[in-house]
Symmetry: C2
Subunit: 153 residues, 2 copies
Amino acid sequence: MPASLKQPVTVTAEECASELLEVLPGVMNDMRQFMRGHVGDQLSVPQFRCLAFINRHGASSVTEVASFLGVTKPTASVMVDRLVKAGSVLILTDSQDRRRTQLHITDAGKAQMQDIRRGARQDFAKVLAAQSPQELAELMAGLTILRRSFHRI
Amino acid sequence: MPASLKQPVTVTAEECASELLEVLPGVMNDMRQFMRGHVGDQLSVPQFRCLAFINRHGASSVTEVASFLGVTKPTASVMVDRLVKAGSVLILTDSQDRRRTQLHITDAGKAQMQDIRRGARQDFAKVLAAQSPQELAELMAGLTILRRSFHRI
DNA sequence: TATTGTTATACTCTATAACTATA
DNA sequence: TATAGTTATAGAGTATAACAATA
């Protein structure tokens, strides 16, 4: 039985909210550093997410990318443009509706994304290696709740 | 007993790392929106953290701020400068060591910070209100592990 | 010499406003 | 008219490199 459940305490949504405000920014900082530290400083966190989305959703549009990332269309447009210039993304035009774009990840982009993911995952895992299996299970449970509460698309 | 513990599964540090990479950026997006949505769009997430640190640590230096935020000294210097211009922070010079600055939060900065925190906390709490007390306890447990693993200063 | 902090420069992220092209 | 996307503009966050002031 996990330590946190030995004597059941009532946790309010407000307390969780406070903890989110205090803890997450620091973890995100480390995530940014981890990503910069691999394969020649290639991708920012938002670019990584953008590529991962395009990889999952073949022929996605700029609007879909914006919606997933939770940013405006101009922001997504600029970000995609940078990824195109970097050779990570290919833009095609939808022949049915010529306003829409069909974004595709390139082989280079796929490799780039996987390298960054592998490196950052290892860096995170190194930090988490000090935790017991029980604690890792608790962390995963917490993340699952976060995913459920804040999932987009 | 929480659902996640009914049939104990082994969770690896790598799996937790992957989940962190996928889940946290989206939550941070919402945090940014929440902060922008209160009291006239006053503070960014980094500015909020900066103010909170200066509030906790009276007479802190730029170097200490940089260390806490996990950024370089120029980055912290610029950020503090913006907060000074906004009237949220006061800079004094250490009379013992005239190279060091002594950063102090102003009353206006304190109010600003508390308004933003209250607003963002409420927004987060609203999202989390759908979760059961048990799930909130699990989330808090996960955040506690994160805090322990990634705490600065 | 070492440390504290700033300035200069450059890039990304982000938003709003205004625009073009297509439907 | 409505939608998809881009361009223009502005400001914040971030880093590195070079510098000034102080110890």
